[in-house]
Each structure stands twice: as C-alpha cells, then as structure tokens.
C-alpha cells in the first residue's frame, strides 16, 4: 500500500469513528449537563465544598466561581510542584521544581494549555504527575466544557414573562459552575478515561510504578528506561485536549504511543469531545440543525487543514527532504509521514498541543499549518469547550454583519446581536492577537529571541509559534527554542493566563447578555445559518 493510500484510509477511519459517536456521545453529554438530579457521590462533593447544587448563578457569579477555582488550582499545583514529593514509585530523587518553571507549569496545566518548559520524566515524580498535573488535566477540561455549556444556556434560555420576579431571575442565570464542573468530571471524563486507559494498555502503552532502569547498550553507552503510569496520563491528556506529555517527547514516546493503532485512538480521543459538543449545543437550543451547522463548519475546516498538512509533508519540499526522498526528520518511523501530519493537524486544530513528531522539522509550508490552525482561534473543532465557544463567538460576529446584509438587526438562535453582545465578542477576538503580537514583538525588542535555535526567518517562526501556542492555550511547541529561562516562563505564563481567562470572562459576559434578552421569534428573514454564510466570514 502506498504511503498516501495508507494515510487516506487512516483519516477515513478517524472520520467514520467521529461521525459514529457524534449523536450518542453528544446526547449523553446533553443529558449530563441538563440532568435534574444529583448522584449520591456528587451530593457528597457539594456538601464537602459547601455549595447548594440547585442554586443558579448569574454570569458574574459564574465567572467568579471559575476564577476562584482556577486560582486555587494554580496555587495548589504550584505547591505540589515545588515540593515534588516522591511518596511512592521509584526512588528517583527529583528536587523541587524551580520557581519560574513551577509557576509556568501550574498556569499551563490549569489553563488547559500544557505548555511544558520542563522534561517530564526527569523533573516530575509520579505523585506530582498524578496528583498534580493529571488532576488539572481533568478539571481544566471540565472548566472549558462548563463555560461553553453556560454560553449555550445564554442562547437557550428565554425570559418568558415580564411578570413573576422568580421567573425573570431564573432566566438571567447560566446554571451552576460547581455542578457543571463536578458532573462533567465525574460522569463524562472519568469513565472514558478509565476505559481508554485499558484500551491503551492493551495497545501497548505502559502503566506501572516501577523504578527507572539503567542499561548498558550494545554500543557501550548508558541508557535509562523510564517507567510510570503513562497510559492513564496519556488518555486524559488527549481526551481533555490538554497535551502535557508524561515524557519530554510527548506522544512520540513509544511507551505513551506505541503503535499506529494507539496513534489512531489518541487522535480520536482528542477530537471526540470537541466534535460532539455541537450536538449538545443543538439539543440545548432545541434545534439539532444548529448543531449540524456548527459541526459542518468545524469538519470542513479540519479536513481542509489535515489534507493540506498531509499534502505539504508528502510533497516534501526543501533541500534535505528532496535529497533523502521524504520529510522524515523529526518524525517517528512507526507512524510515518501521513499519520504524523494528521496528528499534528489534529493537535493544533484542537487546543491539545500533544505532539508525535517535531513541528520544527516540518517542511516550510507543513510547519505553517499548525500556526495557521492555532491562529484561526482553534475552532475546528478547538479545545474541549473552548473550541465551541470560540466558534459561537465567531458566529455572533458573522451573523452580525451577515444579518445587516439582509436588512435586519442581526439575530442568532432567537437572540439579538446588539452592541453589548458585539462588545463582548470583540473583546474576545481581540485578546489572542494582542497577546501574540505584543509577546512576539517584546521578545524581539528585548533580545529574548536569542534563545531560539535558529536565526533568520526560522528563528522568527519559533518565537511566533511559542507565543501563538501559549496565547491560544494550545501548548504544542515548535521546539528549537529554549524557553526555560525566567523571562520566557514568565512571559508565556502570562500569555497562557490572560489567553485563557480573559476570553472566558468575555464568553460568560456574552452569555449573560444573551440570557437576559427576550427571544426574537424565528422568522424567514433570519440569517440562514449555512456553512456558506459562516465560512465566508470566518475567513475574513
């Protein structure tokens, strides 16, 4: 079978799997977020934390809850990393993580970025990995989903009557953050993670607490073979579009991602929630076609991007690839060109940032694709939650201009897009470009670009990639740049922090503005929510 044919089959299987789970998985998540009852376990958690699970929150309260939870998370993770306690497992004596790396890593994992300024297997103890990083892999993903659910509630809720203060009060609210967070973690992420771990172990990923083994190789050199609970870490890393690898080389490591099959499963895992969330959206607003419209746009963009990345890599432009016959530098032989390119596209289309090959070694155009994917705002399908809310914000802007063009005050799913909505949407899409541009320019202006491995345009790309990745909460690295200096850790940490929480506040503000509106009746003259309408604008 030719390389191209194998790559195409790989992609087709992936698409088929995602199509197959769209409805059942989307429906399941819909039931989870709109359930009326709490399980006994969940009630226990609510009692422990001291929240009333039936109390509804307005957008300000919801946002404050998100921020408070995340602040505590950052602090807790920072402390875990600073101590870096090796309670069990190998007797590897890792020192506490240095302050600027601990800060950077704590922010990175809480913001679902998972930018790694450290090398996992030589820095983190098993306890830090599991009780520190993995916990954030779960809850930071749940926060993203919770926020998009709150935004969709803003679209779906209708202020039914002017009368009755309780009805009015209820309709201005967006749900309860603590309930959303708990349910998504307990009912969606945990079960799939357990199942996925077993599948990955079967596929050959390791799961143990053994000591690191040091061997003398045939050539006489010394080699250390790491152990660790890699399969369980790996699953949530992909499922929650986190991307922070157990090992430094991330999903290129044979213990994390041993075969083409595990490669396929991992790509599926990192795409399945973002691609199924539009179904939740459709169900919640009571019109499944809205979900199909959104997922169609995501799908078209994703397929275009994956195809282009594959095409550029297979073409293998450049002196060295031409000379050796293929652009295999930085790629694993067991995956090959195509399955590496597909992984790269998928990881940057979502906000995962896990890598199974080195983006820095891609051909010029192939290396451009991950940057383009991230700069598109990671909406096809984007990170868990963040992808859908990014796309919905984009839809709000698109519908605004398109709505004007059909001669109506623009409306989307029965909600008018007025100045308040546009204000929040504009602030949302302002945030990332500002962070990327200011960050990159500052790096050059202050000479901090000198840690880049390459000079010239390639060095420029490395710096731009780092800021794009951090600000978009992607976390993938172009590599080829030394970022564990205090300046880089601080700058990128700030980008991750602002790049996550500012948009998140604006999204919740938008949700609040939408929730307090009276619905506009469906009318013929509403902007037809077709892919054409949106894609024409999203490219602008």
């Amino acid at each position: 079978m030719s390389t191209t044919a194998a790559g195409v089959i790989f992609i087709l299987v992936l698409v088929a799997a995602l199509v197959a789970v769209y409805r059942p998985f989307g429906d399941y998540m819909y039931r989870v977020v709109s359930a009326k009852t709490h399980s006994r376990f969940e009630r226990g958690i609510y009692r422990l934390v001291g929240v009333n699970p039936d109390g509804e929150q307005r957008w300000g309260v919801y946002a404050r809850s998100v921020l408070a939870f995340s602040a505590v998370s950052i602090l807790f993770l920072y402390l875990v990393l600073r101590v870096n306690w090796a309670l069990f497992g190998p007797a590897q004596d890792f020192p506490g993580v240095t302050d600027h790396i601990a800060w950077n890593t704590a922010v990175s994992f809480v913001t679902n970025t998972n930018w790694q300024a450290y090398s996992g297997e030589s820095t983190m103890t098993y306890l830090s990995q599991m009780a520190g990083l993995a916990v954030q892999n779960f809850v930071s993903a749940a926060v993203g989903i919770a926020v998009v659910v709150a935004l969709v509630r803003g679209f779906a809720r209708r202020r039914t009557s002017e009368l009755g203060t309780s009805a009015q009060l209820a309709s201005r609210t967006l749900g309860n953050f603590w309930v959303d967070l708990t349910r998504i973690t307990v009912r969606v992420l945990l079960p799939i993670a357990v199942l996925g771990t077993i599948v990955l172990i079967i596929g050959g990923a390791i799961q143990n607490f053994t000591d690191y083994h040091t061997f003398t190789t045939v050539a006489g050199g010394e080699q250390t073979i790491t152990g660790g609970p890699m399969a369980s870490q790996e699953v949530i890393k992909e499922l929650g579009t986190n991307g922070g690898g157990f090992a430094n080389v991330n999903s290129a490591h044979p213990f994390e991602n041993p075969t083409t099959w595990t490669n396929l499963i991992e790509i599926f895992l990192l795409l399945c929630i973002p691609f199924s969330l539009p179904r939740v959206f459709g169900r919640m607003v009571g019109d499944n076609r809205q979900g199909y419209a959104v997922v169609a746009i995501m799908g078209i963009l994703a397929i275009a991007s994956i195809s282009l990345t594959n095409a550029f890599e297979l073409a293998g432009n450049g002196t060295v690839p031409q000379a050796v016959g293929a652009a295999m530098e930085g790629k694993e032989v067991r995956f090959g060109l195509s399955n590496s390119a597909t992984f790269t596209a998928a990881t940057t289309l979502t906000s995962t940032g896990a890598v199974n090959s080195f983006h820095d070694s891609y051909t010029a155009l192939g290396g451009m694709m991950p940057i383009v994917n991230m700069m598109l705002g990671e909406v096809a399908p984007g990170g868990v939650g963040s992808g859908l809310y990014g796309l919905l914000v984009l839809a709000v802007i698109t519908v605004f201009v398109a709505g004007l063009m059909v001669g109506r005050t623009p409306e989307y799913i029965g909600k008018k897009i007025g100045s308040r909505e546009i204000k929040f949407a504009s602030l949302y899409f302002l945030t990332t470009p500002v962070l990327v541009l200011v960050g990159t320019a500052t790096a050059f202006a202050t000479g901090n670009n000198s840690t880049a491995l390459n000079v010239g345009p390639h060095g420029l790309s490395e710096v731009l990639y780092a800021f794009t990745s951090a600000s978009n909460n992607n976390g993938s690295a172009f590599a080829g740049i030394t970022v564990n200096t205090p300046w880089w850790d601080t700058a990128l940490g700030l980008c991750m922090l602002l790049g996550r929480f500012l948009p998140l506040i604006f999204v919740l503000g938008l949700a609040g503005a939408l929730a307090r509106q009276k619905p506009v009746p469906a009318s013929e003259a509403r902007c037809p929510r077709t892919g054409r309408c949106l894609s024409a604008w999203s490219s602008a």
Binding site: M405, I422, K423, P457, L460, A525, R526, A540
Partner: protein
C-alpha cells in the same frame, strides 16, 4: 403666497413601488460641502469616529516625517492620507448638507408671525366678554387661546376649539390643496406656520415655546441631535476592535522587521525598510490600508442619508432608532380602510329580482342616489352610468323631486318623484329596513332578495336593497346593489413581498369577521382583526411584542394614540390629532397609510447598506496585503516578491497605489452610501447570496483592479519608480 416647499417639489415617481430609490448626488454638492469637510478635520469632533481619527493622527505623523525627510514618495503619501480623512468628512458633510437645505426652507416658513391672543375666551361667550391682544408668536405658551382668520398664519401648533376653516399646509407637506380643519373630532389639529385660507378659527395652543412641529422638523433634518442607533454603535465597536488589532499589528511589526533586516544585512536599504526597520511612512500606510476606513468613513453618512430618504418621502422620524426599528419590524398592523382598500366601498353590481330588468334597477338605484353625497352613493351613480349608459341628472333639472336623506333611524335614503300626478317612491338601504318598508307599504317580500343578500354578505360585500312604490300600488323590491370594498391595486404583490421579507401583515377593521375574512383573503394579508376597537389594537400589539416581535402601525385618531405609543414603529398621519402625532415616532406628512411599507423598506435598506459596505471594506484588505507586504519585505526576503501578483512597478508605487485606492474608494462609494444599496424584497438567503457576491467577492476583486490601474499611472511620476 410665499410658501416654500419642504420636500422636492416634484414627487418621486413611484415607477417601481417595490424598490426603494433615493436622491441622486449632485457633483456640485461635493464642492459646496468641502468647507464643512475641512472644518470636520478638527480632532475634537473627529475622535468620535475612531477609525478616521487614527487616519488623521497617521496623516499628521507622516506630515512631520515628510518635512523632516522630504521626498516625492513621502509627500504623495502624506497628501493622500489627508485626502482620505477629508473624503470621509466630505461624505458626512454632503449627507448633512441635504438636510441643511431643507432646514433653510423650513425656516423661511417659520416667519415672525404675530398672534391674536384672546384672554377670558370661553365657548359661546359673546365677543365683548373677552379681550384680544396682538403678541409675537414666540411668546405664546401652552393653553393660550388665539384666533386666526382668513389670510393669517397660524402662530403655533394647537387644536381648533371653535369654527371650521380651510388651511394651506403646503409649508410642511408640500401639498398645495387646502385641507379642512374643524373643532372637535379627528381633524382638529393645526400646525404653526400654516395659513388659514378661509373662515375663522379659534385655536388652543398645545406646544411649548420653541418646540413647535416646524422647530422639531428643522432639528431633525439638520441632524442637530442625531444619536447613534443601536446597530451603529455595535458596528462601531466591531470596527474599533478591528482597528486596534491592525494598529497593534503595525506597531509590533517593527521589531520583527529590524530582526529580519539584521539577519539579511546584505539586503539593500529601500525606502520601505532599512537597518532601523520599516519607515514610519510605510508603516502608517500599511495601517491605514488595513483598518476598515471605507466603512468607517461612510458609516455616519449612511445613517444621515437613511433619515434623509424618509424626509424625501415626506416622513419625519423622531430618531434614527425608529428608522432602524422599521427595518426590523416583524408585524405590520394595517388599517383596512385607506390602506388595503380604497377609502370607501363602491358599487360593483346590480342584482335585479323578480324579473325586474337590470336597467330599471340601475335607473332606480341611480335616482335614489342622486342626492347621496357619500362616496358609496356616488359610486352607484357612476356604475349606472358606465354599465348602462344612464346619465346622471343634475339636481336642478328635477324640481318635482324630493330627496329623502339617510337617517340612522330609518337606515334608508331615497327619492320621491312626482310624475304625471302620481308619486314614485324609491328607497334604498339595509336589507332589513327596506324589506320592512316594502311590507309596511302593502308589498310582499320576495324570496329572491334573501339569497342575493346572503351571497353578497358572504363574500365580504355590503348589500343595499332597492325598492319602489308607484302611486298607491303595493311596494316591491327591485333588486340588490352589491357594494364592495375595492382592494387597492398591487397590494397582493406587496404583501407577498412582505412575506418574503419575513413580515407578517395583519389587517385591522371594524367590519364583522365574515366581511373581514373575505377582504383579507382577497388582499392576501396573513391575518386580520375584525370588529376591532382601539383597545383590541393595543392588546394585539402587546401580544405580538410579548412574543418578541416588533410591531409597526399607522394611526391618526386620538383613540389610536395608546397603540401608536406602544408600537415599535408608530406612524401618525399629519392630518391626525396632536395626541396621535405626539404618541407615534414618525409622522407622515402626506397622510398616506400605505407608506408604512415603504418605511419598512427604507429601514431595511439602511441596514443592508451598512452590512454591504462593511463586508466590502474588510474584503478590500486582501488585495492590500498583496500590494504592501511584498513592497515592504521583498528586499529582505526576496521570495516574498512572488506575492506581488499584481506586478506593481516598485515598492513605492505599490504602497502609494494602495493608499490612493483606499482614499478614492471612499469618494466612489459616497453616492452608494447616500442612495443606499439596491434593495428588492426577496428571501433572506437570496439577499445574502447576492450581497455576499456583490460586496464580498466584488470587494476582493475591485482593489486588485483599482490598485493595478493606479500603479500603471503613477509609476511615471519621477521619484516613485
């Protein structure tokens, strides 16, 4: 008579009622507005338009740079950047200029009239019971009583409380035919500045000093207190956000440029880039070309022109917000009479009974209607004449005839003719009343009348039975006249268009449900409200609004006022009462209820124009990237020269061409902004495809062509190439 026309003297020819046209742009207007445009360069006023404010700062900055380091290129860019700002101001000034001309003619109407104020006046009091004094019209206060006689100008807005007069209102409506104003009822409102042509009226002033209708009109057309509409505010926020992004992109480009130039130290210095980075002039050119200057420049002109288009149709809107709401309307409440149907019912058919010749029936019907001055009566005379060639005779030729007038008690009218000694009585009226008359006069009700009457009623018509009694013979029924509501021509098509636009039309009528249903079906409205009382109207509006719909309606009576106030778009007729005019947010000076449909179209056109030009403006950026990026960086990264797909002559000519195009496109689009984009009612998806194609795709292609053409010309300027 010195009356000035407010509206263009020749009414807009409604060649195609489905299309909203607009005024044309007179090139002389551009010239006339130039001083205003220059005045608007004042940063204190310009900062309200953030996009153009940035351009002005850029222009000022390049001026400094050009003085410090003069070159042909620097000065060219500087001049064109200033022109960009001036062109934007020009668009606004031209739009405002039209209003100013109208305001000037209105001011002429507001002459220094004198008022004859009455003190101690009360209805029915003798003339010596009150005193009269002459004061300036401006001194009048609310509730003052004034008297106006033929030839005098009414000193202020008010209600007639005594008398009846014909009034020339052409000063505000442009319509020269006089109108009748009388005490009591719905025709009591008079407007200050209009002239009494005959008789004498006593008026109670309802305006506060300085707030007369004409004062408000002047303020409106001048745009003195123009506020941004909600959509305009939202669009401004979006444009500001885009501007900030491009501003940052331009600023942060500098360190990257310096880095790139250092790396390629061997690359030659160009006017665009050297060791200290991209030159300030080029950076500002890039910024100005990328920020949405086209829509930023035209946005306020579009809004002003939208109001202006309404004024040209003799509609005054209280605010731009109302115009915008008109475009958003979901439900139109239309009064049946005058809007959907011609003012009155008309005779359409004579149905004889009992073997009476149709011509005899027509003759009798005509005779009985000769003295009937109601439109229905006249229509019977006309129908008899056109259908049977019967000439209507003048009253004077029939000295032996006695007319029996209609009364509410008898519900009949008719004529008694003395011919050859015997008297012929003809009666015409409601079926039950006439049949009773037949029975009372010895006749036998025929069985033919009942079915004919029922048939007419069931189709929504009004049956009138005609009967006669000659001498002492028993009375007999002759037949039935079918009075029909005549739906105006073209209404069905208009309602279809409304449906395409997603607007529901509801007919309001006092008729019974059966009649209402028939007319609603014939006119093609979506729904009707029969036997409607004013409070039903209000309830209907509330119900629609409860579902989130925007409602538009017209009205003129005092009892319409609550509904007008409740409606999102309430258009009151100029002939209506002051209460109605106060309650609505638009006044139609022509008092044409059909105009509501045009108002909706103008509102839509306003929104579409904004959306289309925004799309165009943003789509323009693509070509500018292809012009400027290679011009800036091709020296450092020679492979970027491949992006120069327009093959522009030199970096300087490329950048200059982009800047010139950016400025010229504003001027080129001013007529479109003022006129509004072409709008034909159609479904939303059709509209969207059409506008996306025209302004989206067109917006991508146009600058490629434009920039290339400009480049072909300016490359010959020495110092550019």
């Amino acid at each position: 008579m010195t009356v000035t026309d407010v509206a263009p003297s020749e009414p807009e020819a409604p060649s195609s009622p489905s299309r909203v046209g607009g005024g044309l742009l007179d090139p002389k207007q551009l010239l006339r507005s130039t001083p205003d445009a220059l005045r608007k360069l004042d940063p204190r006023t310009l900062w309200r338009n953030p996009v153009m404010f940035i351009v002005e700062i850029g222009a000022a900055f390049t001026t400094v740079l050009a003085i410090a380091d003069p070159s042909v290129f620097a000065w060219l860019i500087t001049v064109w950047l200033w022109l960009t700002v001036v062109f934007a101001n020009l668009a606004e000034a031209v739009a405002e200029g039209r209003g100013k001309a109208q305001a000037a003619s209105l001011r002429a109407a507001k002459k220094d009239a004198m008022a004859r104020r009455l003190t101690g006046w009360a209805e029915g009091k003798a003339a010596d019971a009150y005193t009269e004094e002459t004061v300036a019209a401006t001194e009048l206060k609310t509730d003052d009583i004034v008297v106006v006689e033929a030839g005098q100008i009414i000193p202020g807005d008010g209600d007639v409380i005594e008398g009846i007069a014909s009034v020339d209102e052409s000063a505000i409506t442009g319509e020269s035919a006089p109108v009748i104003r009388e005490a009591g009822g719905d025709r009591s409102a008079v407007t200050g500045g209009t002239r009494v042509l005959s008789d004498r009226i006593v008026v109670r002033i309802t305006q506060r000093p300085g707030e007369s209708f004409i004062d408000r009109m002047i303020a409106l057309v001048e745009g003195a207190n123009r506020q941004k509409t909600p959509n305009e505010i939202a669009l401004n926020i979006l444009l500001a956000a885009l501007t900030i992004i491009f501003l940052l992109a331009a600023v942060t480009l500098q360190p990257l440029a310096i880095f790139s130039k250092e790396f390629q130290a061997a690359a030659p210095d160009t006017p665009a880039i050297n060791g200290s980075g991209v030159s300030g002039i080029v950076l500002i050119s890039l910024l100005v070309c990328l920020i949405p200057t086209t829509i930023g420049a035209l946005l306020s002109a579009i809004g002003i022109a939208g109001m202006d288009r309404l004024v040209q149709r003799n509609v005054l809107a209280v605010s731009g917000r109302a115009v915008e709401a008109a475009g958003d309307v979901n439900t139109l409440l239309l009064d049946k009479t005058g809007t959907i149907t011609l003012g009155n019912r008309q005779a359409s058919e004579f149905l004889p009974v009992d073997g009476v010749a149709a011509e005899d029936l027509a003759k009798a019907a005509q005779l009985s209607s000769l003295a009937d001055e109601t439109p229905e009566g006249r229509s019977i005379v006309v129908l008899a004449k056109t259908r049977y060639g019967l000439r209507a005779r003048e009253d004077g030729f029939m000295p032996h005839a006695t007319f029996v007038a209609f009364t509410a008690e008898t519900r009949m009218s008719g004529i008694d003719l003395s011919e050859n000694g015997s008297t012929r009585h003809i009666r015409k009226g409601a079926a039950s009343a006439v049949m009773k008359w037949v029975r009372d006069n010895g006749g036998h009700p025929t069985t033919d009348v009942g079915p004919a009457v029922d048939a007419i009623s069931s189709t929504g018509g009004t049956p009138l039975v005609v009967a006669e009694r000659v001498g002492t013979e028993p009375a007999r029924a002759l037949g039935v006249i079918h009075l029909k509501d005549v739906v105006k021509q073209g209404m069905k098509e208009r309602f279809n268009e409304m449906r395409l636009m997603g607007i529901r039309t509801v007919m309001i009528t006092g008729d019974n449900p059966l009649t209402a249903k028939a007319i609603a079906g014939e006119a093609g409205v979506d729904d009707f409200l029969a036997e409607a009382k004013p409070e039903d109207k209000l309830a209907l509006i509330r119900k629609e609004q409860e579902g989130g719909r925007l409602v538009a309606m017209t009205g003129d009576g005092t009892n319409d006022a609550p509904a007008l106030a409740q409606a999102d778009v309430g258009v009151s007729m100029n002939t209506g009462t002051s209460a109605a005019k106060e309650a609505g947010n638009m006044v139609d000076l022509d008092s044409d209820p059909t105009k509501l449909i045009e108002i909706v179209e103008i509102g839509k056109q306003l929104l579409i124009t904004r959306g289309a030009l925004t799309t165009f403006s943003i789509a323009n950026d693509i070509a500018k990237y292809f012009a400027i990026i290679p011009a800036m960086f091709a020296a450092v990264y020679p492979s970027l020269d491949r992006l120069n797909i327009m093959r522009l002559a030199s970096p300087e000519s490329a950048i200059t061409s982009a800047v010139i195009f950016n400025a010229l496109i504003i001027i080129a689009l001013i007529p479109l902004a003022l006129r509004g984009v072409r709008y034909r009612p159609s479904s939303a998806s059709k509209l969207l495809s059409r506008n996306l194609l025209l302004y989206g795709v067109g917006g991508i292609i146009a600058p490629f062509v434009g920039i290339k053409l400009i480049d072909l010309l300016i490359q010959f300027i020495p110092g550019i190439s």
